[in-house]
Amino acid sequence: MSGTFVGMPAFPKAAQEAVGNPTLRANLRHATHTIRAKRAAAVAEVSDWAALREAGKQIKDHTLRHLDRYLVQLEESVTAAGGTVHWAADADEANRIVTRLVKETGESEVVKVKSMATQEIGLNEALEAEGIRAYETDLAELIVQLGKDRPSHILVPAIHRNRGEIRDIFAAEMSEWGRPAPEGLTDTPAELAEAARLHLREKFLRARVGVSGANFMVAETGTLVVVESEGNGRMCLTLPETLISVVGIEKIVPTWRDLEVFLQTLPRSSTAERMNPYTSTWTGTTDGDGPRTFHLVLLDNGRTDTLADEVGRQALRCIRCSACLNVCPVYERAGGHAYGSVYPGPIGAILSPQLRGTGSEIDASLPYASSLCGACYEVCPVAIDIPEVLVHLRERVVQGGPVTLEGNRTVLKPAKGHAAERAAMRAARWAFARPGALRAGQRLASRTRRLHPRTLPGPGRAWSGSRDLPPVPAEPFRDWWQRTNGGDAGEGRAK
């Protein structure tokens, strides 16, 4: 995945900064709580939501099960419609293909509409290394790009910024990239939007190459679909002469009829809208309308390896609605950057360690970035049981196990740094398998209870730094039960 995130520290350390930043926490809290409430209302309006959710899950599972077949069908349909399909096994290959395609046009700049796949592979950096400048045109992406920042949310990449910060970024940076911000720009939403509009319009009208992602690809007709709110995407898709779409292979739906389900669930789950303002669909090329050349780069980059894992593969159902981020109490406090990936939040915590493997510090820590409260599973419009996958990936981290890496089955060793925990878990299991040992431990704790310190040393400090431990009672329950035969009422009942 993207080089921008390599070398991230483990999640707990990365989250520390956000937890300690009151402005950031207030921004995140306000934004996630607002959209959370709106989503709940938009979903409650639909009487058959549970059926739609099940349908979405089943369509995605069916498609993933027959992905090979649908990918071939998609390639045939795209080709028949005048497009060209390219296959990219990993980020490097995808970047090489796109760079070559842009160079062949003779251009040195491209406009982009929000594409998480290109962020995943670090396309902007790869293009820049070859002297090609990529302009982000989605409003939030523009804010992130101008601020030399990283996206922190799937749908609202600049969620961590407030209006004042955005004004400052526009005023300071826009001139560097094109049309400067108007004099005396204030932080009112209308003025900020107008500044972005004027800045972007110049780029749309100048650009000859567009790079996009897609929310869906319809196999039967070779049609790509982008669902958006601003219309900037439609500009990117229709104005340039050459359009290059980079899309993950899991984004296929077999037919238009299947698409119908997601066009209902995606807007309501993501922006809490009954229908999103712009849904653009494009099929190959058409004379006299839209791009004259169309390339589709199909990206694997760890997806078939993920597909090989029978518990983890459900992550590939994701339609990137970000409902799970907006309800996640951990995301709300830790912020998106702490997840070290273009995919933050609960879905990122299960997607990144599967796409990238659990080799790095950040990826090994992501499965633990959850209290397993289950709110993400509850809101997911394609019913991804994120807690189940998190626990499954924790198992991979601490115990190792069979995985598929670059198409080959292999057995992973446990990640480093879990030896003490493993020993503690084994010891606890040993004691719990022997009621006598448990009881001896309880009695020891009871007898020494006046000696227990209020703050603990070692790993216990993580608890006692912010919370008091409960006092150990004089007698564990089982001793009371045995002593009193279950209390006054329970005479003669002890076994």
């Binding site: 951990v330 981290v397 993580a462 008091d468």
Partner: protein, 251 residues
Amino acid sequence: MRVALFLTCVNDTLYPDTGRAVVKLLTRLGVEVDFPMAQTCCGQAHYNTGYRHEAEPLARHFSDVFGEYEAIVTPSGSCGAMVRELYPRMGERARAEGRGDTLAATLAPVVPKTYELTEFLVDVLGVTEVGAYYPHTVTYHPTCHGLRGLGLGDRPRRLLQAVKGLELRELPGADECCGFGGTFALKNSDVSAAMGADKVRNAESTGAEVLCAADNSCLMHIGGTMTRLRTGMRPVHIAEILASTEAEPAL
């Protein structure tokens, strides 16, 4: 009716009062309670931290200890959800790994007859008025595993509303996690503490004297945060409220 009390290792060790309250309450309602002395831990901490293979013998042990009973009652939504939700999944995983149906068959008997306390009262005994008296203002925190794992719904609140003298106050952001999450509280202590502090602030805003929940693990985290933040509120397990009577009132 004779039931087995699955108290859980945390309650047994740290919260014996909750256990005594469950015994008192169920006995008052005419239920014969047994406490199988061989019980230990359901294995949730192991399972959720990634040590499924360490959790399996504990699940087997649970089935051995409780398998013979008509019903198993636990005052912990979290441990109840472990048995009901995750034991079947452990069986499925063992099968998927080519280890046959043995584990699934061993665990199957205890799954449908394990009840969280409020679920047992409302669904099995069919009562919401349990003859309790508790003259305090109370706010209720529906714990995640009780709410989403077991789907307890409004059962605990209905029980609390029927308690004489009790004034129930709505908790803002009630369905948000308190941040305990087992080993999460240790592995991500900064985020966990921030979640706990927000939960405590929300609880405080109700002006209630008591924060009540059906899980002492969450209450340990919330209560520990309350004393550290010097709120003056008390965490109390729902069993202790429901067991309280005019003759023998709980604090």
